[in-house]
Amino acid sequence: MSEGDAREEFLAEAQEIIEGLSRDLLLLDQADKEGRDEPELINEVFRGVHTLKGIAGMFGYHQLGAVTHALEDLLDDLRLGRVSLAQSVLDVLFEGVENFQRLLGEDPEGPPVDLEAYAAAIDQVQAPAPLARETLEDYALDSSVLSVLTEYEEHRLRTNIEQGVTLFRLLVRFSLATIDSSLEELKTRAKPLAEIITYLPSMGGGGGEDIDLEVLLASRASLDELREALGDQGEQLSAVERRTHAPSRLPPAPSIPAGPGAARPTSAPPAPLPPASIAPHHQTSAPAAPAALSKEPAADLLSLRSVASTVRVDIRKLDHLMNVVGELALVRSAMAGLREKLQRLTDEKILTRDLHRIGRAFERHLSELQDGILDVRMVPLGQVFDKLARIVRQVAREHEKEVQLVVTGAETEVDKLIVEELSDPLMHIIRNAIDHGIESPKMRELGGKPALGTLALNAYQKGSHVVLEIEDDGAGMSIERLIETAVRRGLMSHAEAEELTHEEVLALVFLPGFTTRSSITDISGRGVGMDVVKTNISRLGGIIDIQSEYGSGTKLTITLPVTLAIISALLVKVAGRPFAIPITAVQEAILLVPQQVRTLEGREVLSLRDTTLPLCRLNELFGLESRDPGHRSFVVVTALANRRLGLIVDELEGQQDIVIKALGPSLTDVPGFSGATDLGDERVALVLDAPGLLEELLATTEWRRVGEARLAEGPR
């Protein structure tokens, strides 16, 4: 593995850990708000940060190392109960995740990480919580057990006691050979009802192949319920008695078959080193080893196993595979050509038929291969939603708003590249929605709305597209203010603005530089950046639309193709040159009847089933020679969301699956094309960028209106 590969691997792994952290913190945040105690989540976060620290050190990310180190301390205090969880602590933790992202270069445009300030923030929340020492004494716990508890276990024990949770003692005998799986089984059975605080090898017990364990559990369930849940492992379960201030009593250090029975009293005094407790201490060196090993590693083994069934793959490798598939498709058509030639040249019917059959099989497997690779590229939108949930929380807190995020369709799958490219635009939209859409709790109550604002994020598949809706129940947009702003900015006259429909006025927010906020202190005014959002979405072959009702909320709808890697396309010819139009953008293709073409305000339109379709002659747009007028031409009706445009082409060549390849950096500024594709026989066809063309050719609002086909009274 080269250094570059190793670095890639590190970045990928770090990214994965950070995403996990982000998820866990959100859960923790929720638990905290609901007043639940989630020690396992804190542990999870601690482990994540710890791992990150390890790999950061290995790859020389010293700043990252420093942040993880500081956070690790805080988390350690948190899980040991030295610091208690609060929103302020969660803020620091979330900020930590942001810092990780930045330090990894995820967000190079963000402000640089101020490590000192962050360390100070950590220090501030790290003030120790008071410890309650005395509580443990009240329980009939073996001092030999207490003395070997780790700090964490002791903390969990105290917390449970403080919360009035009953303690139970369980004696089990496990075979040394299967101790790991038995423990795992025990944990699984206990988990719904109880927390396992510790397990220690019990003295005296077992021998040879077996080991006796004393397990300390905390549970709100009754003895019987817990015993039932534990099944055959729960036979020796008993409650730990509370002492009634009599001198501490020590359990008799029973060997396993001592029988169930609750808290066996014993006369042994809680001497610093009672004779009976020498044995366990003595024993810990040996049997404690498997116990200690089996704790963490058992969990690690599980996670290792689950990881082993998945692989992380660089998307470029998949691109490469896709290219190979494309090449194979070319080989296939070459073979088909050869077969036809052979058919003409020879009478060998059987041979040509076999060849045909093999060709068909090849084709079938090839398309399976193609589907398989496409499938691998698909990832659930949930990947980007998780990041957004973090933003929602952060922005809501910054602006002192109460917002709940409701997500549906997180499992909807989209090409990995699209998911990556979506995160920025979505982040922008969400910031805007909270910043300017959702009102402050007070305002909401005055307006008769619940104080808690709702931000809904819905995703679903619709044909070969994925639709994403971002909807808030906030203030909505004022048509009057939008118009006023547009006029003030000189974008149009008052008279022109009056002509606009509701939707057209809303679409003004996508114009570069448009903002309704007059205050310059407001950095994320709605409108700033919405043009960028729109550009980014178009680059993905998508379209964004806006709906808003003043007073009741705003909804943005993004329509995206499922994949960019391979698409079905309509091949056309203009001036003898082939072009491909993504089929998802094509509504229909019809023969052009020249007599039906009218001119409307200097531009050609066609009446099509009672609607007016703006036309674009591709040969003129592209500066190519035109055919003599006697020749027939076709109109390809392209449509996205509610916009339509008729592209006039010379010939229709048919439909074909194509692999879109990017044009080189020197051609990215050329408008109208989203890439090119290899058609085989050495021909390369440009792929039309349908959203881009719609945008370009329907740029003025007048034409957009015609394109949106809402004018039923178009010229006949």
């Binding site: 592209f622 190519l624 390849k661 990017a662 950096p665 020197s666 050329v670 050495e682 390369v684 440009l686």
Partner: protein, 174 residues
């Protein structure tokens, strides 16, 4: 082969500069014709020489872009070197080739009329660019005179190679 190429690429400008180290005596360049003149590019900058496939014209692209081709599945932009060097336009013949050259950002194709040969130039066979003036100066490293010594002995006239600087030649594209 690759090593030789990278080696040539990295040290050629030094070899052609003022401070030519004594040991850097021989450098390889590939010569080709464009509008009846002979040009040369450092061999190390050339990744591949291709026969010209049909070039797909890209509407609304910059003027000196001829179009795109597919090189084993990778879409590659082809530049019109004649236009870049302000030479007469002429339809290309069957001898035309495309040189694949790395611009630092991408591999670009350069259409040339005909590819000749590889010359090994000694410092004595290279004149610096100071004598070239005009628009071409930006793109020219110097003039190569392969076999200038031998030519003097035999009385034959030496070939003139216009040595192009791939970096400045392609920079404007990226």
């Amino acid at each position: 082969m690759t090593e030789e190429l990278t080696d040539a690429r990295s040290s050629l400008p030094a070899a052609l500069g003022d401070s030519v180290p004594e040991d850097a005596t021989i450098r390889d360049v590939l010569s080709f014709t464009l509008a009846d003149e002979i040009y040369a590019l450092p061999l190390g900058s050339i990744h591949e020489i291709l026969k010209t496939p049909p070039i797909t014209h890209v509407p609304r692209a910059p003027e000196d872009v001829l179009g795109i081709i597919s090189v084993r599945g990778r879409i590659t932009t082809v530049l019109d070197l004649r236009r870049r060097l302000h030479l007469e336009h002429e339809p290309s013949s069957a001898r035309a080739r495309i040189l694949l050259v790395d611009s630092g950002v991408e591999l670009l194709g350069l259409l040339v009329d005909e590819v000749h040969q590889v010359h090994r130039l000694t410092p004595a066979e290279v004149e610096l660019s100071s004598m070239v003036s005009g628009e071409l100066a930006d793109y020219v490293l110097g003039i190569g005179r392969p076999g200038v010594g031998r030519a003097a002995e035999t009385g034959a006239s030496a070939e003139l190679l216009i040595l192009l600087d791939p970096e400045s030649l392609l920079k404007r594209m990226s």
